[in-house]
């Protein structure tokens, strides 16, 4: 275990705050995290919060990377987002095939890995002897321009039935980046697309989702610490729920700052209006509730991992529900505040607007979708399919049935 504490990393993140604020416009204009910022993040060691100690990481409990991301998001939502995402990759890469870990980290402890879970229809990895042939276009690879590697979730077509799902690890140069990220929120995350053309990939760079999302992944032969027992996808939601919460906090902080000392056209002080007072009270209650959920679940998951690492289907359903609910509360708080900014909140430089747009963009992540995770947990409570991958399995079965017709 590292001698560095999670609190120390949060302190280092806070120390970067003023620089992040200074570079906000620069990042927004380039639509990606400024290279100077990436260099600062690397130098501060905050991205290595949950990285395996064997490769030079701090191997802190799960969530240390999101504590950092939340802190960074208070100053720049896009930076917090990218740091949270990359920080999580530095954790789950520890569950990958040992040879893949060696290739990325041996002698290069500062290597950065991006990832994409969404792809355009037809994107796939086709098994060919001992290798895979990869083709397609993957979407929303946050921080891709700053990274040395990318990991892509890809279907592998099977002789019959639905495809298997794998993560394919690719090195810079093996893919091209398509500069398509134009978005009002998380604008500086460079969440661009990646195009892969007829690329042959060695088997050790391909790990099955099924194995990664379990407490016994291939990488744990190297990384025997308890943090790697947590299933990759089942707990992933907090890696994006954390930054979402951070962006919502930034909305509240900047809202209070922007209203303080103001005088309205009718010569009254907006801060004297109970309507406004109630808005910040409700937003802060929403965010405190979300923060409590976040801390509670992180502590729970780490507790389970230290015992035997088995999360029940209901545990997983609840974690996913809570991640989506943290995002829902964050979004409500941000919207409640931006609604009350008047025309001043429309201006491009408005910190309230920016932080709110970042919150909404962060909450748009598939892992934070309330419709999916809310309904899934409801189904579990009603005694429905109790599989941890209930939704995926249900659809795979539907696809299989359709093929048989």
């Amino acid at each position: 275990m590292s001698s560095v504490t999670s609190a120390e990393l949060v302190k280092r993140a806070a120390a970067l705050g003023p620089k992040l604020r200074e570079r906000i416009e620069q990042g927004a204009a380039a639509r990606r995290v400024p290279p100077e910022t990436m260099a600062d993040l690397v130098a501060s060691g905050v991205l290595k919060a949950c990285m395996p100690a064997r490769w030079g990481g701090h191997e802190l409990p799960f969530g240390a990377h999101t504590d950092v991301a939340i802190e960074l998001s208070k100053y720049c939502g896009s930076t917090g987002w990218v740091a949270g995402i990359i920080g999580s990759h530095n954790w789950w890469l520890g569950k990958y095939h040992p040879d893949a870990q060696r290739e990325v980290w041996e002698g290069k402890p500062n290597a950065l890995v991006a990832a994409a879970f969404a792809s355009k229809p037809g994107s796939k990895a086709v098994k060919s002897g001992d290798t895979f042939i990869v083709n397609g276009e993957w979407q929303y690879c946050s921080g891709i321009d700053n990274c040395d590697w990318v990991s892509l979730m890809s279907p592998v077509p099977q002789p019959s039935g639905p495809p298997d799902l794998v993560m394919v690890l690719l090195k810079r140069g093996e893919y091209t980046i398509k500069d398509v990220w134009y978005s009002p929120g998380l604008r500086s995350t460079g969440s661009n697309n990646v195009v892969v053309n007829d690329l042959t990939v060695a088997a050790h760079r391909v790990t099955r989702i099924h194995e990664l999302n379990s407490k016994n992944s291939p990488g744990q032969a190297l990384n025997t610490g308890w943090t790697f027992k947590l299933p990759m996808l089942d707990v992933f939601g907090y890696s994006v729920a954390g930054p979402t919460l951070g962006c919502a906090r930034a909305t509240l902080d900047s809202f209070i700052a922007s209203m303080t000392g103001r005088t309205a056209l009718d010569m009254t002080k907006p801060t004297d209006h109970p309507t406004l007072q109630v808005r910040i009270a409700e937003a802060s209650a929403e965010l405190d509730a979300a923060t409590a959920l976040y801390h509670g679940d992180i502590a729970f998951m780490n507790g389970v991992a230290q015992v035997d690492g088995t999360l029940t289907p209901l545990d997983i359903g609840k974690i996913k529900r809570n991640c989506a609910y943290v995002a829902t509360l964050s979004k409500r708080a941000a919207l409640r505040l931006v609604e009350a900014t008047g025309a001043g909140g429309l201006l491009d430089g408005s910190p309230v607007y920016r932080a709110h747009a970042d919150t909404l963009a962060a909450a748009a992540h598939r892992a934070l979708n309330w419709d999916i995770s809310g309904a899934n947990y409801g189904r579990l409570l009603f005694g429905g399919d109790a599989s941890p991958d209930a939704e995926l399995k249900r659809r795979m079965a539907a696809a299989e049935a359709a093929l048989k017709k």
């Binding site: 969404a118 309507t275 406004l276 808005r279 919207l335 609604e339 025309a343 491009d348 999916i372």
Partner: protein, 390 residues
């Protein structure tokens, strides 16, 4: 003899214009104001003249016509819909000014456009012989770059309260547009600040807030039709409603069109999720409720205007509440749709996203903000005194 086109005719014209406005939306966003070609199309279709006095080349349709017309325009471009309603409403207000002021604006050019700015960040007003010497900087003047005149507000010397202010007309040569509108919502509306330095405004080009609010305003006597037979304050809160409904409807339409094609990574059809169906349905109901609510109010305003024009205070406060509530319904509807678009909904050129941004712009207006516009009726209903503009 020419006949005046009906409200339905204007709605049809607006509907026909919407696709070409949508095609120039990107250009409007880049310019941060409407392209000249869009302004020219709107002017030649008479979009700004629906409630301009007939005497001066306008169509003088019944008050409320700006709602369905601007709604149709906003279906194509939110900023264009906003300008049609805002400028159209100010042309209606100008119909209540002294006839000589109206003559100055429209006598030589019945197509003249009047922007407005009621809020100011700097102001200096001194009495001068036959009028006022004024310097000032007014904020958020939508459409100012294309305007021939601006309607601004000024405090009068010896200012005694909110109603001791005046509206004043100033010609283009007397003001400068600062081009400082860099905004996320209604980006294409060119709502920049305008500045005037040491200009003279003759008295007849000004009108007191209390005077323009009266049913016997100087202009109402000159333009005796029912159009001007209404109070001004709170009645003009209607301004944001048409653009809000148009933005929401266009978000709804592009959401359903786009969603029909969506598949997830495993190839399943996303629109088959019941949650998506519920969201679509609830958004549709919210928009339909907003439309029904405003139709009811427009009918009530017109019924009053065709008789003695009198609207009681309770009704006006309810009207104020409901205009803002329609903004809220529209925001709820579009927010509900945006939520289920996932990362697709983040793209700068996503139509639901664009409509949402414009809707946020519309609902940021002082007449549409929920907090300030819901409280007065609540106070009234509870028997608590309220100090406001009426």
């Amino acid at each position: 003899m020419t006949t005046t086109p009906t409200e339905n005719e204007f709605i049809a014209r607006a509907r026909a214009l919407a696709p070409s406005l949508a095609a120039r939306r990107k250009q409007a966003l880049d310019l941060r104001r409407l392209p000249d070609s869009t302004m020219a199309d709107l002017i030649s279709a008479g979009m700004f003249k629906v409630m301009q006095p007939k005497r001066l080349g306008g169509h003088e349709l019944a008050y409320g016509a700006q709602v369905p017309v601007s709604r149709e325009i906003a279906m194509g471009c939110g900023a264009a819909g906003w300008l049609v309603s805002v400028i159209g409403t100010h042309h209606w207000m100008l119909g209540k000014f002294e006839p000589k002021a109206q003559q100055d604006v429209w006598g030589a050019n019945p197509d003249a456009i009047c922007c407005s700015a009621f809020g100011y960040s700097e102001i200096d007003v001194k009495p001068a012989s036959g009028g006022y010497a004024v310097s000032g900087r007014w904020t958020f003047s939508s459409g100012s770059a294309a305007a021939d005149w601006a309607m601004v507000s000024i405090p009068t010397p010896n200012d005694g309260g909110p109603m001791a202010r005046k509206f004043a007309m100033i010609p283009k040569r007397d003001f400068t547009v600062l081009d400082n509108w860099h905004a996320s919502g209604l980006r294409g509306s060119g709502s920049s600040d305008i500045v005037a330095k040491n200009i003279f405004i003759p008295d007849y080009r000004t009108i007191g807030f209390d005077v323009i609010d009266r049913l016997d305003s100087p202009g109402a006597k000159a333009n005796p039709g029912q159009t001007y037979n209404l109070n001004t304050f709170l009645v003009f809160n209607l301004t944001g409603v048409g653009p809000a409904l148009g933005c929401a409807q266009s978000a709804h339409d592009s959401f359903t069109t786009g969603m029909k094609q969506r598949r997830n990574v495993m190839g399943s059809k996303i629109p088959e999720l019941q949650n998506i169906q519920m969201r679509t349905s609830e958004a549709g109901a919210e928009i339909a409720a907003g439309e029904a609510l405003i139709d009811k109010h427009i009918a009530a305003l017109r019924a009053a205007a065709s008789k003695d024009g009198v609207l009681d205070r309770g009704y006006l406060l309810q009207f104020q509440r409901d205009c803002a509530y329609i903004g809220r319904l529209c925001l709820n509807a579009v927010g509900r749709l945006i939520d289920s678009q996932g990362a697709h909904g983040l793209a700068d050129d996503n139509l639901v996203n664009l409509a949402h941004a414009d809707l946020r712009g519309v609902t940021a207006h002082m007449t549409m903000g929920w907090d300030q516009n819901c409280v007065p009726w609540g106070k009234h209903a509870l028997g608590i005194a309220h100090q406001g503009l009426i």
